[in-house]
Amino acid sequence: MRRPFVFAAATLLAACLLWPGWVGAFQSEGTVRIGGMWPLSGPAAFFGKAAHGLASLAVDEINEAGGLVVEGKRVKLALHAQDEACNAEQGLAVVKRLATVDKVIFSLGPGCSSVAEPVFGTLQKKLGDASDSGLQLLFFTDIATKFGLAKLSPWVFRNTPDEPAMYDFVVKYLKEKHPDLKTVMVSYESDFAHSAATWNLAVKPALERHKHHQIVEVVDWRWLDNEFGAQVTRLRKANADVYFSLTHTPSTCPSMLELKRQRVKPKMVIGITSLAGTEVLQQCPDVAAGIIAPSNFAPITPRAKQVADKAWERYKADSNIHSVPAYENVHLMKGLIEKAAIKNTEDTLLADRRKLRDQLAKVGTFQGVVGKITMRPEDDPVKPRDVDKDMILVQIKAAKWDVFWAPEHLKRN
């Protein structure tokens, strides 16, 4: 009795494994394949699923409007999303799949900087170098925020927050508007590349540069820690005016709760950019109340509100600083694919990727959901292939993100 079942199961498995990934792709089938690798499982899945949702919304909008024109023919976008699980090993497997099995023309993601770093390390280091066997896959990253990641390969472009600039603004703002707040205490996650880099490469240099604040205590923990008593006791003893909580929601909520338990009441709390989403509002809106975070997105313009509502309606996807760039990137790339005169065949895939990469390198300024975004040129000495965009400060008030500060031109919109 069991044999036919085992045979059928083995046949099905073999069929799944041998199914050619490219079937249904390319010009002949009327699709252009684009990829995305995000943490769709594990503790960082919140960010990945939100970005996947916003990218899917952009793909839907483009396809519903008739798709895009390649070689004179209307074709549709097909999004191939893979799960990197915020795990470097899985990320390395996924990037190979996207490049060689899914055969996408470009990819969004990765989500975690700790995945992006090794993944970008596998890409070609010098364009057109025949001796460099690195992958020739174009990335237009939407989440991985660690400063300097785009320098790892000419195939990497990013639409991610510019944290050094953002925290420089925050420190300057504090110095000018609240000169009485002089002492600073800091917490960061030592095992989370983004958090540690935000402290070491963005906040610390800004505090040193502006020479106004005195750093009286710095504590660290791991991003999935569950006990913060000893570190918060240190913060209590430091009793500083400003608290830079450079940690992500999983450790921000319990640590803020511990601050409350130990009656630590800094006059101002500044959070990490990644905090500006709904996760923190769902988990600890009360203890996180008052936290101010620098961000590039808040639903403060009619367009931003419309995108946020649509993404939630269709995909239950949260529109935030990390997910909205996925939407912006897909819309931008649609235009660039049309402009790049790609052939969209399996044989021309590498050449097509290169053409698209070169188009993206020339893009300059483009329209984002909230405001204008400018891609820095390849020879930029500070952050090549990274973007500059409008910054706002948002604050948690009554279990919602509220605009704390925004540039005048955005307020007018």
Binding site: S41, A45, D220, T233, P250, C253, P254, L257, R261, Q283
Partner: protein, 293 residues
Amino acid sequence: MGTALFDGTEQLINGLMYGCFYALVGGGFTLLFGVLRRFNLAYGSTIMAGAYAGLIPVYLFKAPVLVLFVTTIVVSVLVGLLVEFCCFRFLRKGHELAPLMTTIGMLIVIDETIVHLTDAVGLKYPAPFGDESLALGPFLIRPDYLAILVVSIACFSAIFWLMHRTRFGRAMRAVAERPEAAQILGVSVRRVNVLTFVLTSAMAGIIGFFAAVSVGSARPEMAAWLTGKGLVVMVLGGLGSFPGAILGGLALGVLEFEAVWFLGSSYRDILAFSILFLILMVRPGGLLGSRPA
């Protein structure tokens, strides 16, 4: 009192209270290993499933904390029985390592199911013991840690009574010592195994409740964290020794708190595991475990 001594004492108090929590986790792993002689790596996910499920009546009907607590225990017991059924019951004798794989599989299934259902977002948990620490003299004591201390003492006492004063406890010890001999004497090994799962899963419910209360939310990474800590406590205390698990839990709690305070959080695990290795070198059977033959 000198500052270092004061700080050290404060961390010692916190470490002992938190150590009771670790002792409960390690105790659950130890009881299962003691009776079944097999590792149940899905124990952490049983704890997590209970913690999440407890929130259902709270979110749906605004149920009081007592209902949450009871639901957590009931669901943990059901999940524990599912683990027993899927991962242990049909495995043949002599395949002692097989449950490692089946329970890892179950851990992943439960973990990922919760991630998919919740989008990996932690769910806010009520704070039944209040949000502010109590000032006891110069020390700040967390009320939820005090509750953990009281509940764990009650749990340990109940388990000792059960093991040494009841028929089921005698059967449990007999199965743990020599299952074949116990079976010849009329003890139903399967029944004892199932009841051990019920007992440890009820403990899992209590652990899940306090794990979520202490961080203010039920979170998908709870399972991996609790599995890691539980295994360390079990090995540190001595495989299969329940008093050893209590001692191991307390030792781990104190070590972690003192390490974070005096050396920093990055030294916490280095110190804890270095001491674990040191103890295993001196006492290969763990703190209170029997010496291996």
